[in-house]
Assembly symmetry: C2
Homo-oligomer: 482 residues x 2
């Protein structure tokens, strides 16, 4: 028996029929990322049912030097869960592990398997008048393990932080099959390096997250959603600072979109209406929220925020959603930008951040620069101004050939945008991670000192390079695999 | 010239007279930790004036294999900044680097050198109507770098988190002299492992923190300080949950102390008065705070918290401080526990945590167990119930010989307490770190898997074992030093 056959036999024996398959019918759907940008090959699909099975399976892989690509809901944005084309690796799906292990309503903590889907998590905690303060478009497929491995963001980061801030404890299987377990959350624990933090956001390259304990918040009792028109992105920044001052912790979201995006949404979605009569260069969507302890004061707070913003000349026009339906309608305008912009033709999308105080200046500077360097293109920035994170889309000139444009001018545009971001001390990946999509750009633009330290850590914790090879920061020299 | 003389000559040449000395008059004060538990020896005291000097000095040390003990205010609780007795190491003091590098009032961020003293930081930001939400007893000497390296806690962790939560970016010099720089804070950045998190709390064993960017909050506009008497530690826990529900984010502190501690304070401090007429088995000190946006609602919130607690039968008696002077007096009772308990005779002190939901049960269980196992001793738990962190003091029986008792029964008591904490999935160091004080207990009780991973990381980032040797998790095999 070849070593490959030996591996397959041992793995099948360990995980059983439901847990291990080489049948292309079952494997193929997971070989392509959901945006359809990357397609790879795999030796097999492993779906262990428990942490112990994950650990035992990793040991079998380590013994035979079979690389492992961990996968959650396969809804990542950077191809981080898609194997390469070699077909050497197995996909390790965590989807079968989707139980809630423990739920302490009083302490507002839930412990769940890595395969639990975000939407299910939301529903589970909402049934107990609690909420999990992170959400995103892919919530119907994204898993807790994937959210942790990519340190996912969303529209509530301004107030509640990204996934890292929600994680109280994790369990993970390391490259040698060791189980790292720190699920019982200690609010204070100073017994050495916080290894949990190292695993969060490591995209499955240092360990495979198998479970987590997450913090929860009291259910929202009320929200107030405001829409404001401003003349300039710098005014939007002033309005953000003003909102922080007036609303304090009640400020949960602050999103911006340019005139172009709002018009695109209205053209694209027949149900969309502009909240304001006049058109403005920039629009801000502001959400204030309160749990039971602050609900009574919320309407007055929203009113006072708006009035003081008018008084100080910070807004050209503004309105407060009259009811929940209108609040939803305001948010739909924001959520529809990506599909509406996509409907306009090919575009290069960039998920970038710069230091929060600099974002307005960055947008004001970079948009005309890009449009000048690439005549006919149009740059559009929208999103989380309060986080210093915008989605920076550059639309192809009219008449560009889709497919071809992305690989020629599109590539040059991305490099240009990433260069600009780097010059502003920013990040070429604010919330979507590196995966394989941005791996080479990270190698090109990342701080060499930081890249070297990352490689040292990767080398120490996965010396055989078995965990998610070719993603994020690959080892300097790749060891031989099966 | 011997290699030692060569090292001394190169270091003196690099750092100059103000930056490098072997004069015992200057070196000796820094050889003993402030609690006087550990005294070591050192080859020299280095006090670089800039990050570049730190980096260059570390390179000289690496060349000659001279170990380095980084030191901030020398106010640590676990001997982490005190060299061992060999005299092989140099002390690297960050105290000369105490500048504010940048202060963005709008963005509420400050960037400062590692040697800036906490009290100076407080004063600097308060002058601009901001506050830094972490404080502790040693604030007059503790430095920003030391607070980061030990992930310091304090009484505001309940609401604002420990030092980790305040750090937006850091700069550090690694063991080979590489400068790790991520000072420009990006609120969102998913470009790989969050190395900053690895350095926070690593007690100078992975890198030397030279600067940091910290988050700030709006100045407090008002606070309400409540004192409640309850019959049982479990009732205190119920009151905590109730306070969280009613006060939400306004709840900034929740401290508990047993009758014994309050009586000790009153006996020790002639100015201390009990806030309540009757004596209660347990006392809770509750602080609610508000910035300008919530100040108006605060008195009513405190009143309603108290009234509902009475209605639900959660408190035996309670009162709200009438004014700031009385609020200070309430807090003095809490702050004086440690000296008051110390005045009663020798005691073993333990800085422990268990999962927050379990702390009340743990105290109820462990106190009688310890007192039974060690007849005549008295166990007292007080502190941060809301963080699952109490200071667990065990007083010697009357007539015990100080000095001798600590090394005999005292040692056995500490091992007993640490065993109990470990059985409850707790931490033997909640906020004070490991240093040299708890190094052997960590090796004895720590999870072997986690200790192994920590050693792998240490080995990868400091293969020569030059950074703070003998602290936290020493390398398996110590390399030869100069």
């Amino acid at each position: 028996m070849s070593t490959k056959d030996e591996f397959l036999a041992e793995a099948a024996d360990l995980l059983g029929e439901r847990g291990f398959t080489t049948d292309t019918e079952f494997v193929t759907p997971w070989l392509t990322d959901w945006r359809g940008r990357f397609t790879g090959n795999a030796l097999a699909l492993a779906s262990p049912a428990s942490t112990q099975e994950v650990a035992d399976f990793v040991k079998v892989c380590a013994k035979h030097l079979v690389p492992i690509v961990p996968q959650g809901g396969n809804s990542g944005m950077s191809g981080g869960a898609t194997p390469d084309e070699s077909g050497d690796a197995v996909i390790l799906s965590l989807r079968r592990m989707d139980s809630v292990r423990g739920f302490d309503v009083d302490a507002r903590q839930i412990t769940c398997d890595a395969g639990l889907i975000l939407q299910t998590l939301h529903e589970t905690v909402e049934a107990k008048d609690l909420r999990f303060p992170l959400t995103l478009g892919g919530k119907g497929s994204a898993t807790v393990g994937g959210l942790i491995s990519t340190n996912a963001g969303g529209t509530q980061v301004l107030r509640h932080g990204s996934m890292r801030a929600q994680v109280l404890g994790i369990e993970a299987v390391m490259a040698d099959g060791t189980v790292f377990e720190s699920l019982r959350p200690l609010k204070k624990d100073n017994r050495g390096f916080d290894l949990k933090q190292l695993l969060i956001g490591s995209e499955g390259t240092l360990g495979i997250v198998t479970a987590a304990t997450l913090r929860l918040l009291p259910a929202l009792a009320d929200r107030a959603v405001l829409w404001a028109g401003v003349g300039d992105i710098r005014d939007a920044r002033k309005l953000l600072l003003h909102s922080e001052r007036v609303a304090g912790d009640a400020l949960e979201g602050f999103e911006v979109m340019p005139r172009h995006s709002l018009e695109a949404v209205i053209a694209h979605n027949p149900n969309a209406r502009s909240p304001l009569q006049e058109s403005h260069e920039w629009n801000a969507l502001i959400e204030l929220t309160a749990d039971a302890s602050g609900a009574e004061a919320l309407p007055a707070l929203a009113q006072s925020l708006l009035e003081s913003a008018f008084e100080e000349g910070l807004v050209a026009d503004a309105t407060i959603a009259r009811n929940e339906a209108q609040a939803e309608a305001f948010w739909m305008l924001r959520d529809d930008i990506a599909p509406a912009e996509r409907a306009l033709g090919p575009a290069m999308q960039h998920d970038i951040s710069v230091p929060v105080p600099d974002m307005a200046e960055f947008v004001a500077d970079a948009v005309p620069k890009v449009e000048k360097a690439f005549p006919g293109s149009r740059a559009v920035a929208f999103g989380h101004l309060g986080d210093g994170n915008v989605h920076f889309h550059v639309l192809a000139p009219k008449g560009a050939t889709p497919g071809e444009w992305e690989n020629t001018d599109g590539k040059a545009i991305s490099a240009f945008v990433h260069d600009e971001v780097t010059a502003w001390n920013g990040s070429i990946s604010a919330e979507h991670g590196i995966g394989q999509l941005k791996r080479d750009e990270l190698a090109r633009l990342g701080d060499p000192a930081q890249l070297a330290i990352m490689r040292q850590v990767k080398q120490a914790l996965d010396p055989q390079g078995l965990l998610n090879p070719g993603k994020l920061v690959p080892l300097e020299t790749m060891p031989e695999h099966l």
